[in-house]
Every structure is written in structure tokens, then in C-alpha cells.
């Protein structure tokens, strides 16, 4: 549903009470309060339009999946997305890796996005859907390959919901899920102290249904995976879907070309299902490595 444009509508100007905490209502309720209350305000009688102001849309913790019209039609008629491979990138380095090595070949259509609001979401004015933090792409020639890049924070209480809703749209038979995930080497527990030269490195976790060989060493005890990769693994394990998570432990916070290159072994797996871009030059990679945000001047 399109957000109701607050500032331009004449109706809103009359119903200025919406803004105050006292009269806040659930989205989608018609705002003709007069019928239910004894307050007298002639202007309110005219305002019976359903309202979902942008500020309310953001304040619910629901995960909303917004698909392209073609896919939406297919889903509403009861047909799930035919998908043989679903590749998910969680974190800036993983997402940039996919952008540089896979998505830059321009054989991909953006077919949907997930809108997730939580306490860490930043309201960015004029944010278009392409800049959105969670986008789904489908290969033009091979529509059974789906990619998702997630660069936003998904809160603990939204993770399960995200996984359920996404996998509800996708058919499970013969599905292979690959998750690339960024992590900090500070979270990696090992008996022998890791010198700085060993990071970044990859570790893998896979579900019981995954019968292939992982491209790197398995995650040793007592390390665990949390967040979106864990939610996806849990869902796949319970529903017997073959899934593997490749977690990259890096000592750099933020986008970094060396960390991105650590994911290259996964390319051997991905190359079987789609055409990959030739290893991009350092110039291309540096395009994806943003300079530090101005706001974060802690270490200047």
C-alpha cells in the first residue's frame, strides 16, 4: 500500500490530531472518529480515507516482502517461485562480493525486496527501492537462480519471520541454499591465539540434507553462527533443505577488498549454476569499498 502523503493532503491538515500520541491509531483504520466518539469537529466528518502514514508503516516490526507484479501474481495464484539455487549474502562484504563477481554481469533483474524496520533502521530521505537494504535478484536466462543481498540489520525478533516468509515463497524440492556471511574475527574462539595474518578466513556449516562438499573447513567447536544465517540454517534443517553457510571471519570492520576476495572459493560452486564475471580488477572492487562514513570519526 502506498504511504499516504502527509504533507500534501488537505485532508491531513484538518486531521492534524493524527500526529499527537493521544489519537494514534492502528494503520488501516478509517479516521472518522466522530462515529465512535462524542467529540464534535465538523471537519473530521469529511475525512474517511484510510491512512497508512509513512511513519506508521515503519513502526511495526513486520517483515514485508514486496515482489514485482509478475511474481506477485504468480504467488497469489498459489504457485511458489521455482528455484533451484538460492544465494543469500548477509553483510557488506558478502553483498559487495556478489555485486562485483556476479551481479555486475547485468543478467540479473531485481524482482523484489524486503522492507524491515527496527530500532537500527535509519530513515534516509529519498531512498529508492534499488538502494534498499534487502533486494532479491533473479537471473534473466536461468530464472531458477535467486540471489538476495542483505545489508541492513534484522532484529532478533524479525529473523525467524524473515526466513519463514522468504521460504514460503520458494518451492523446496531440489532447492540448494548458499549463504555468505560476514563476521568479526573477535567472535571466533580458538585455543591457539590467531595472529593477524590468518584473518580473513572462511568456515562452513551445513544442514543434514546438504550432500555436497563444502569449500572450506567446518566451523569448529565451540563456535556458533547467529543472526540471519542461523535463522536460514534453522529453517532449512527443520524442513530438510540442503543449505550451507560460509562465514568469513575478518579483522576489518566495514567493506574491504581483501575480505571480499576471501569468498572466491565459493565461486567454484556458484560457477556451476550461472555465468560469472571474470575476476574484477582492483578498480572495480574499490568501487564497492566505500570510504568510512563521515559520521564515524572516532579514530581520526
Amino acid at each position: 500500500m502506498k504511504p499516504f502523503n502527509l504533507s500534501k493532503s488537505k485532508d491531513f491538515q484538518r486531521c492534524h490530531h493524527l500526529r499527537t500520541g493521544r489519537n494514534q491509531r492502528e494503520p488501516d483504520t478509517p479516521i472518522n472518529y466522530l462515529k465512535n466518539s462524542s467529540q464534535k469537529c465538523s471537519s473530521w466528518k469529511k475525512c474517511n480515507q484510510k491512512v497508512t502514514p509513512l511513519m506508521w508503516e515503519k513502526q511495526t516490526r513486520e517483515v514485508n516482502l514486496l515482489w514485482s507484479p509478475e511474481i506477485l501474481q504468480s504467488l497469489t495464484s498459489g504457485n511458489k517461485l521455482q528455484c533451484s539455487d538460492f544465494i543469500l549474502a548477509v553483510g557488506h562484504n558478502a553483498a559487495s562480493f556478489l555485486s562485483a563477481y556476479v551481479l555486475s554481469s547485468s543478467n540479473w533483474d531485481a524482482v523484489g525486496r524486503a522492507s524491515v524496520w527496527n530500532e537500527r533502521s535509519r530513515a534516509v530521505a529519498g531512498q529508492s527501492s534499488e538502494d534498499s537494504a534487502c533486494v532479491f535478484y533473479r537471473h534473466k536466462d536461468n530464472p531458477s537462480v535467486l540471489i538476495c543481498r542483505v545489508t541492513c540489520y534484522i532484529a532478533e525478533d524479525q529473523l525467524f519471520q524473515w526466513a519463514e516468509k522468504v521460504f514460503d515463497c520458494v518451492q523446496h524440492r531440489g532447492l540448494n541454499v548458499t549463504v555468505l556471511s560476514d563476521s568479526s574475527v573477535a567472535d571466533y574462539k580458538t585455543e591457539n591465539y590467531l595472529s593477524s595474518s590468518s584473518a580473513p578466513f572462511l568456515r562452513s556449516l551445513h544442514t543434514t540434507a546438504f550432500s555436497d562438499q563444502p569449500v572450506c573447513q567446518s566451523l569448529e567447536q565451540p563456535n556458533i553462527v547467529t543472526g540471519l544465517p542461523a535463522a536460514v540454517l534453522n529453517h532449512c534443517q527443520v524442513h530438510c533443505i540442503a543449505a550451507a553457510v560460509y562465514q568469513c571471519y575478518s579483522d576489518v570492520i566495514g567493506p574491504d577488498s581483501v575480505t571480499m576476495e576471501t569468498y572466491t572459493p565459493v565461486l567454484t560452486k556458484l560457477g556451476k549454476v550461472m555465468q560469472l564475471v571474470q575476476p574484477p580488477s582492483t578498480d572495480v572492487l574499490s568501487k564497492f569499498v566505500r570510504s568510512t562514513d563521515i559520521q564515524s570519526n572516532l579514530y581520526i
Binding site: L159, A163, T208, Q221, T226, Q237
Partner: protein
């Protein structure tokens, strides 16, 4: 909520269920780890719920390279059929706003599965004990009326101490507030106990007063206490008897190895 990992759903009729509460020091969860690890229990299903924070890891009870790469989820059910014992292990915190819902899901699962009794292993903040609780053993029990009818003799023989009702405002004599049950730091323990009393479920709570820190000795104390009642180790063939096996996931509990350059 419960999803079987086997081809046919497991039968829990007349089994005893042991489950932890996510509580101070994670003592209940550590104790359950010991039970699963020692009795070599096999996983029969998952509790697939949105009430827990997701996590995933390799097999925490692995004994060899072959079974090391099995994925485990935040809440799973294990059984030891010969002992008629089922264990629910919870590895992740309960999402704060979903605690009541989680209790409801648990209670309805317990009812539907037909467990003969449920034992909740829990803990409570040691610093919040009142004067009478400071004395003697730090272990306490609670039992619903439904289970009391069956196990009263066994509990009396064991000489266990029931959890006391403490006054709401200690030292204040004016108020006529009744002493009430309080389990600070116990997570869903009190709620689960009250729900079970209301639903007439045979449920017992075994709890230990402890603080955060190295809670391994507390876990051993609790699991030995449980064993005095349920006699889980009696059928162990391997010597030495009455020895609990520490799982492989109990390594590096306080972080990675120390960098040598530090010194």
C-alpha cells in the same frame, strides 16, 4: 512447534521430560548438556519456534570426526528410550516479548505428548536470598499438586527442601502482603510452574541458588541432585559409574586462548 527429525514421529507416552529454564548461570542448560552427553541420547526432533533467538552450530556432543558435522538448532528434543527419558535442550535466550507465548507452546506440547512427569532444571540469583534461604543447602524443589500426589513419598525420603515463599517487602511488618513465590533470575520458571498448576500438569522444578561465573560445579551439583531422584546413571555399563561426561562444546567457555605477546 515440535517437528520430528525421524521418519515417524516419536512416542513420548509415559516418558519423563527433563528440560532447562534459561536462567542465571545457565545451570539448567549445562546440566541438561551433561545428561545428553553422558547417556548418549539421540536427537528425535526440533522445537521450531519464533520465540527463541536463532543460532546454529555443529554437533556439541560429538565424540568422533564422523558425527562432528551435524547441525544443531536452538531447541531440540533427545530421547533415551530404554530409560523412558526425553530431554529438551534450549540453547538460546527467549525473545523478551514472546516469553508467555513460549510457555503456552511448551505447556500444550507437554500435554499433547503425554509425558508422565516433567522436571524443570533451573536456578535463581544467590544474592536475592532472604535470611532463611541463606542457610543450608542451595538446592530447592517445587512440585505441582498433580505430581505431589504421585511422588510425595520419594521426595520426603530424599529430604529435599521446598522452595520457600518469601515476603514481598522484607522487614516491613505493617503490610499484610502474603509471602509469595519468587524466583529471581529464573527466567520462565515461575510462569511455567504457575501455568502447570493451573493446567494440572505433573511438573517439578529443581533449582539451585547461584551466581554468574564458572557454573560448571553448579551444573554438577544440580545434575547429581536430579540423579538422586531419577537414578539416571544406574544402568551405565562403563566404569567408573556415576561419572558424568563433559561434552566437547564445553571448551573455551571464557574466550579464546591468550596471545603470547601479552606477556
Amino acid at each position: 512447534m515440535f517437528v520430528s527429525s525421524q521418519n515417524s514421529p516419536p512416542v513420548f507416552k509415559d516418558f519423563t521430560l527433563v528440560m532447562p529454564a534459561v536462567a542465571v548461570g545457565n545451570v539448567g542448560q549445562l546440566a541438561v548438556d551433561l545428561i545428553v552427553s553422558t547417556l548418549n541420547m539421540s536427537r528425535v526432533g526440533y522445537m521450531h519456534t519464533d520465540c527463541l533467538i536463532p543460532m546454529a552450530g555443529n554437533n556439541p556432543y560429538s565424540t568422533s570426526k564422523e558425527d562432528a558435522e551435524e547441525l544443531h538448532t536452538p531447541a531440540e528434543v533427545y530421547t533415551a528410550a530404554e530409560l523412558k527419558l526425553a530431554v529438551l535442550q534450549i540453547r538460546a535466550p527467549i525473545i523478551q516479548t514472546k516469553s508467555k507465548r513460549f510457555r503456552q507452546q511448551l505447556v500444550s506440547w507437554i500435554k499433547a505428548s503425554g509425558f508422565s512427569r516433567t522436571v524443570v532444571l533451573s536456578s535463581s540469583h544467590a544474592y536475592q536470598r532472604d535470611d532463611q534461604q541463606l542457610q543450608g543447602s542451595p538446592l530447592r524443589y517445587l512440585v505441582t499438586p498433580s505430581l505431589l500426589g504421585v511422588s510425595a513419598d520419594a521426595l520426603k525420603e530424599l529430604g529435599w527442601r521446598e522452595m520457600e515463599r518469601t515476603p514481598a517487602f522484607p522487614g516491613v511488618t505493617d503490610t499484610d502482603a502474603e509471602p509469595r513465590l519468587s524466583i529471581p533470575g529464573g527466567g520462565i520458571t515461575k510462569g511455567l510452574y504457575s501455568d502447570s498448576c493451573a493446567e494440572d500438569l505433573p511438573l517439578a522444578v529443581l533449582l539451585l541458588f547461584c551466581s554468574e561465573g564458572d557454573n560448571i560445579p553448579d551444573a554438577f551439583a544440580l545434575v547429581n541432585h536430579l540423579n538422586d531422584w531419577l537414578h539416571l546413571l544406574d544402568n551405565q555399563d562403563q566404569a567408573p559409574k556415576n561419572k558424568w561426561k563433559i561434552p566437547t562444546s564445553w571448551s573455551l567457555l571464557f574466550g579464546s586462548g591468550i596471545p603470547p605477546a601479552l606477556f
